[in-house]
Symmetry: C2
Subunit: 622 residues, 2 copies
């Protein structure tokens, strides 16, 4: 954490100085819905005091009981960017291993067929965790409250209509009634509206979009219980397939005592709906007991339960621009999360993908509203996220079918599939297609393990100035900044006339084009460097000024730009991420932590032209 830049200030450094905002009737962004998608977006936008954000929810207060609970490694990485991953890690259950139980070969009872590591080594520096969605909401709400804008949701507003005037200069108008007193209405005008209002999204309906897809017609129950059992793996994630009583998925929960169970309830008839079965918690318990037999299961308390059918559906587009006009028109209304894609909870992807949607959208909205990028940037949201939702739904369909399949035929197939797709469920397989934001793979060989279009994969380094061992990825905060990470060639100490020094000179020129006068040199594009030798061999006084920039009202030196490989480790970051030790590599990293490009350290022209494609010169800043 960096603080005290503009003078010593006592108190909690997590609490940003409040900044008064312009008093305007028209919001920059109106977010409908305080679920994971809405809160991720609000937490991102709350950092910018020059953006007026309003977030509303039809519920009359924050979520108390969560439905979703699985937090993928990738989401933990994103929480780190928001500064609260450590809080989740402390409270959550950690999914370390998965056990697979199948019928005994005799047909009587169950046996543990396999037990595997849940997250493969070095897939992420973060664990796969389980924590109530309500707590995740709490952390986002805390983050918003501590941001310069002190953003708080407005609860109890139910969207009635959303008007979109044809003239793009005119604001959008959202009409609400009060949830508690439906005869009372209210109107909010905004430049952009984002519907994070769930599977029955009013915003989606206002765009005349529909969720398309099929249902596997499988009914499942889910319950959170405090139970006493002699089943030995009750504190492990378990996939249990009984001989003839169906399947059960056990997800241990936070706190050491709570358990979530997903229970197969059989196929639904052609016209049957989940509600028709009149499922009760007693039915769920009885079925769980039957599946787990001969192990004993006594449920002391059911904290929450539900029944649902599996369905995989997705919208054709995630914004208000018809597909055929995507080249000529920029969007003003977006949908995210369950509003534009639904799937089963089996793969534990719902909350994670919803948050990833708006983590993709947030920085883009901020860049356009702050005059850093042209509005066409906003077209990339639906392009990028719709393609990923489609992939998820295909994956989820396979996964759901396997979970519901009979054990005798599909046991091996299930396990093979489960292992193979560990990376997918960890959320780290997302790879955006080439676009203005995602460069060509021409120079990918310079950094084999840092794939263009995929999230920056962290590894440990030593911070030069204070010798602190840390994760390089943890400098990628959710602050809307682009980042350049220059990995130095061997024997380059960053001194004058060397490759790194010359690169820094070139970057300084490029950065100056986009950085508002009077702002710190790293306020739009933040440059970091990683050297190959021991930090003890470096001389900070010889480095380019870009790597020891003077910032803030006092011109204090920022000493946190330069890192070195951790030579005390057998394999360092250059080994782990396949970085060319002879030539080094330059990474362009998006504000949402995705690798936009890999370039040679000397290819100033490509670097320059990349930013010409995504950023506006500073004269346009508002």
């Amino acid at each position: 954490m960096q603080y005290h830049l503009n003078g010593f200030r006592p108190g909690d450094p997590n609490q940003a100085d409040a900044v008064a905002q312009n008093d305007t009737d028209i919001a920059d962004v109106l977010i409908i819905g305080c679920g994971p998608a809405g809160l991720t977006l609000a937490a991102q936008l709350a950092q910018f005091s020059d953006i007026k954000t309003v977030i509303v929810d039809r519920k009359t207060g924050p979520l108390i009981m969560g439905q979703a609970d699985g937090i993928a490694c990738r989401s933990m990485e994103m929480f780190e960017a928001f500064g609260f991953a450590h809080k989740v890690a402390l409270e959550a259950y950690w999914v370390n291993e998965v056990a697979f139980w199948t019928p005994e070969p005799t047909g009587q009872g169950l046996h543990r067929a396999d037990r595997i590591q849940d997250v493969e080594d070095d897939l992420s520096e973060m664990p796969h965790t389980i924590l109530s969605q309500a707590r995740v909401h709490d952390f986002f709400l805390d983050h918003m409250r501590q941001a310069p804008t002190r953003l708080e949701p407005r609860y109890g507003l139910d969207l009635v209509s959303l008007d979109r005037p044809d003239d793009p200069e005119l604001p959008l108008t959202a009409r609400f009634c009060q949830t508690d007193e439906p005869h009372l209405s209210e109107t909010i005008q905004a430049r952009y509206v984002v519907g994070c209002d769930g599977a029955r999204s009013q915003v989606r309906k206002s765009l005349s979009l529909t969720l398309k897809g099929d249902s596997a017609r499988q009914l499942w129950g889910v319950m959170d219980v405090l139970a006493v059992t002699d089943f030995p793996d009750i504190r492990l994630k378990c996939a249990i397939q009984s001989a003839d009583q169906g399947s059960l998925l056990i997800i241990p929960r936070e706190g050491g005592y709570l358990t979530r169970m997903y229970i197969e309830l059989g196929a639904l008839g052609e016209t049957e709906r989940a509600a028709d079965r009149a499922v009760t918690s007693h039915m769920l318990i009885a079925r769980a007991q039957a599946i787990l037999a001969p192990f004993d299961l006594k449920v002391a308390e059911v904290a929450w339960w539900s029944a649902y059918e599996i369905g995989q559906r997705v919208c054709d587009t995630f914004d208000d621009v018809p597909l055929i006009k995507h080249d000529t028109q920029t969007p003003r209304v977006f949908i995210a999360g369950d509003a534009c894609h639904t799937h089963s909870p089996k793969a534990g992807q719902g909350m994670n993908v919803s948050m990833a949607d708006t983590f993709n959208l947030g920085w883009k909205l901020a860049a356009v509203l702050r005059g850093q990028s042209a509005p066409t940037l906003l077209n990339t949201y639906s392009q990028e996220r719709r393609a990923k939702a489609k992939e998820l739904i295909d994956f989820d369909r396979d996964m759901a079918r396997l979970f519901s399949a009979r054990p005798k035929t599909d046991h091996d197939q299930f396990q093979t599939y489960f292992k193979k797709h560990g990376r997918y469920t960890a959320g780290v397989e997302t790879r955006y297609d080439p676009s203005v934001l995602t460069g060509s793979s021409q120079h990918q060989a310079l950094a084999q393990g840092l794939k263009i279009g995929m999230r920056f994969h962290s590894a440990s380094v030593i911070r030069m100035a204070d010798a602190k061992p840390m994760q390089l990825g943890h400098v990628l905060k959710a602050d809307g900044r682009w980042r350049l990470i220059a990995f130095a060639p061997a024997q380059d100490f960053g001194v004058e006339h060397g490759t790194m020094f010359d690169l820094c000179t070139a970057i300084t020129d490029i950065v100056a084009r986009y950085t508002p006068t009077g702002s710190d040199i790293d306020s739009v594009i933040d440059t970091r460097a990683v050297f190959q030798m021991s930090h003890r061999k470096m001389d900070i006084g010889q480095l380019h000024p870009l790597l020891r920039p003077q910032k803030g009202q006092h011109g204090l030196v920022d000493y946190e730009k330069v890192f070195c490989a951790d030579i005390s480790e057998k394999v360092d970051i250059f080994d782990l991420r396949g970085i060319d030790r002879i030539n080094g590599a330059l990474l362009i990293v998006r504000p949402d932590q995705f690798v936009a490009h890999v370039l040679p350290l000397t290819d100033f022209a490509s670097l320059s032209s990349f930013f010409e494609g995504v950023l506006l010169p500073r004269v346009s800043c508002r």
Copy 2:
């Protein structure tokens, strides 16, 4: 973290359920002073809803600007027991290395003579950190607020007198005046009073005790600055000895920009006091510039500064029992922290030793007040802590002399001393002498690296039930419980008829003597086991019920009692801590994390007699 034991409860699990306390006029414990010593004690006692604690301070509100800042590894371990080490680690500066600068051999300017690791490998799982004392206070205050008693300090009460009636059945009476309105007075009665009221302690004076010792007559200045410099090691802890301008100690501070400087200002005359020199911040800056020359130092802002003389002084005793009566009388008034020992800030020990004082006292007061132990336990506080304070003062005197010594003669000596005493300054060298609380070293060989009388030295293990990699020491929470940690012999899987199983049967008998009827079996003595084989080879169903106890109103199983060596590591906990792999070892760990005894797994008699010496049978519980 374990929660939801007595039913699912939404919300922040750090917030304990509030428990209404008996409305009584007489406090159990009155703590005078809200510094590190007072707050550590209050945070400990706040956990017990059957103890009424009152904490007051003469200041009218919480500390805003801290003086102390160094947090030793040992204090971080203690913070972990209170659940906030991760918050400190996140905000703080980490002391990773120390640089030593001395005059160039030519006599002109300075050069880096050496650069060493600050904390040796595996000295502690915690880093050595630097953070404002005010933030440490904040974390303790948060902890108190979240405890069952919702304890809050009362500010603005200045102690005037403390009456101790001869009859030990009568309460102590403390009279205060209000700091803001001195004509208004107030009286608080209490069974025990703890003076954590600093170097000018009123409580100490009421006991007619004095700080004894000498002063090195060296004047030092200290300042926290935001500065711009070309001195390359400004973000490292540095000891700088100039040729003829004196010495400077640089301590980088949290947030990346702030720096603390300790500056030598020369010897004081025989009758001279620090105040006589009329030190100003400008004088400190000028001297720092002279010492650092030819490096440049521009100070943009002085956040805080002070001047002080070094002195090492200690009280003869830390309670109200005259030395000659220590065998027959039990104490009711205690002093802790600066109230009973003062030293220079060079070794960074002030805040740390003060917190260690009351971490020693807190569980003892709780045990006596809750009827678990006889009042004679309280005599061990002064015995144990006074001996350690004396050691600290001897150490500090040597350290201060070396810091003030001329470089030409003592450079090598200084560095040698500095390295050698890294363990001491990390706070992990404290070793209590044999007593009722600290067993003989007869069986020390069974666990060579877990020294009797020293703090439990953590190492990583795998939690059996959920395969979580974690630090074993992190189960030692500040909850007033004794702990037994049984390290299993090789090939012992914990099954019936084995050494571990039989031990658990014996422990169950012993534990039953001290555990109140209706309380969980681990509520007074908490037993944990560590096995040598992979957690995947264990069968939880075969373990003794003590290692999978049923607890709370639902009889839910606690799955967090059993651990296994991390066989994926080259050296596991048995190697690291020198535990006898053939015979195993049984550790008795005090509620303040100190190892009380090491015994053979089969020595039930010694185990039984140890607890007879420190605990009262349950019939005595109030």
